[in-house]
Symmetry: C2
Subunit: 417 residues, 2 copies
Amino acid sequence: MVPHLVTALTGPINELEQRMLDAMPTVERWFRLEWMEHTPVFYCAAHIRNAGYKLAPVTTDLHPNAWHHLSPDMLPLAVQAAMAAIEKICPEAKNLLLVPQSGERNADVMANLLQLRRIFHLAGLNVRMGSIDAGVRQAVSLPVPGAEPVVLEPVHRTKGRVGLKHFDPCTILLNNTLASGIPGILEDLSTQYLLPPLHAGASVRLRSRHLHSYEEVGKRLAKLLGIDVWLINPLFASGGAVDFSTGQGLPELRQQVDAVLAKVRRKYKEYGIPDKPFVVVKGDLSNTALGVHPLRDAKGLDQLDWSHCGGAAPRGLHHVIVQEGLSTQERLNDAVAEPVVYMLDRYVVGGFYRLQGPGAGTVPLAFETSAGLPQPGAKAGASAPNRFYMYGVVARLAMLAAAYDLEASDPNAVSYD
Amino acid sequence: MVPHLVTALTGPINELEQRMLDAMPTVERWFRLEWMEHTPVFYCAAHIRNAGYKLAPVTTDLHPNAWHHLSPDMLPLAVQAAMAAIEKICPEAKNLLLVPQSGERNADVMANLLQLRRIFHLAGLNVRMGSIDAGVRQAVSLPVPGAEPVVLEPVHRTKGRVGLKHFDPCTILLNNTLASGIPGILEDLSTQYLLPPLHAGASVRLRSRHLHSYEEVGKRLAKLLGIDVWLINPLFASGGAVDFSTGQGLPELRQQVDAVLAKVRRKYKEYGIPDKPFVVVKGDLSNTALGVHPLRDAKGLDQLDWSHCGGAAPRGLHHVIVQEGLSTQERLNDAVAEPVVYMLDRYVVGGFYRLQGPGAGTVPLAFETSAGLPQPGAKAGASAPNRFYMYGVVARLAMLAAAYDLEASDPNAVSYD
């Protein structure tokens, strides 16, 4: 399937895979019923870690930006899923406005935008790209190697709607994490569909809320599968509000780090896992400058690496979370390979491996088409498609959790209490 | 794409292709809105003829039985479409009962059943196969080369529901044309989903009704495309009720044959088509023994070939239709190649070429995955994917017409008049 990749096809994870395969009709039915009650996030990428003894998403990205890394064979699946999504959200749709990330326009960024445009154009929409950057005041033509240039136009607001010159979209697709805050131009768009909604933006969406939702849905899936939810759910705790530059809040964080480590240690003992546990400390908001800090004990908090912010801890109070660390057993040569699963509407439409490690950079290894389909007859651990089915289940669980957390945090939600 | 195949990539059909590509967002939006009002037939195969100057479906099969001929690469698309269909019809579904065609159990039949079972199993259902043949009184295990045997069990009826021993399905999928009539065991199943419904059976579904529906939706699509509907719609007329063994009704049929031929002749003149027109006379019901008779003039009615029914015309009155004949420009070596497009829910999920001609038999040539997606940049006629997009549009038009004709003929329809 994926050459030279050690996909941790052995070990305790095989039991989990076997249970998921055996329960396939039950699992699929459960997802179907969940999607009746909860609207799928429009699109989503789940970054997964396979630790050999457990499997869990480490990031649930609601503005996935590597669509060009999916195998070309998977494109028809993405187009079909896009058709299904449009049918549900806005069947009368003609025009889709794609709002890309602000800033850099390198080859990767452009390739992603082209692929997104292609998917939604082939699904039957007129797609144009609009920038909400103050710097973009007139249409700019951005060159793309081997393809037609991408035209990026300034987004205008008139009569409570946003659009481009001579282009009134019914749906606005954000491929922009809105990391620097929610832009006024996108607020209160009551007559257009804005996907994902503003409260999915990086300046407001809380990791802790997502982890709570994930735990909630994870418990229910685990019960269906007859497994310990820990096998698909990393332990976590709130680390409170901390100012790393002054030390305010550090004692409480220390306690939480110790508490999570103690819980993980007990689980390792229960399952006979010889590894030394670690936790990861990170901001509750993904747009903070805090970074991600793996720690083997609370003492590590005194020697955090702040090189990514000029050597000094960022000032001010930041809410942080403490999460069980997951090593990954998957390797390509010496690089850690992290499966990334792409979803559109409620469907898995592809994926790739993100490689990280000495000199590896990011080398995408596309899942092949057939990877989307399990092979019920094959022995657990012996078949890459079955492994990918398991990844797809966990990825959809993360997407479902995201649907829950967006519902819970929706500022416009109507309460029936 | 498909080797050695003359796919009529040149000629006037290119203009039609170009118009469909240019109008893609309009066409897709139109289909989306139509599917909001009209329920897609569950699954469907459209047999298409590309005459070089026009393109039209010649058969719209509501019990498609060659799923094994689709390319394996297309399987994920079929599974995803099956998931979408189940979600809409019966989200709480666990069990699906597949009812195969009665009679012959050759390798082709078995391969088709296995593929259907695979698609719905991978979509998340428990699938079992049940026979409604009186001859099947206990479970029979049918050998399949290179695969696990297929177990066919007798269908039982209890308390207004049908099922197998220890298997209560929520949905019954008919892969049986019910050519010999509607079996009592399947009637009045008010608490189960029977797909397609009984009035889609070959003993009751009228070709004339389908052609009327096709003409109706064809006119609307043609208007959207700015084309003459004739370019996608074969002319037809009712030929009345005829007893070929006695000659009763023949004079009226003769008139209709002449009338349709005259209309086709005028169209040929209008478009400068040098071919000699022909019509096809066939039963209004597809399960009659009449066969299919191509005729260049009404005199041909006196020399019909009845070799397929033992040399003599079948007795009794049969309703017949007269339809404009379409030659096909597509050839593989000397065999006529007829594209067959497979659909599930409202999606095109694959297709293949059915070859007919001296010594050719039926050689399926699977469409490749990428054939599902048009290439908007390419010149008309220069790209097989764009050709297949056009086939997919006409195929979906046939499916939409089938949705209309099933609605109009539904004996249980609630009338709001």
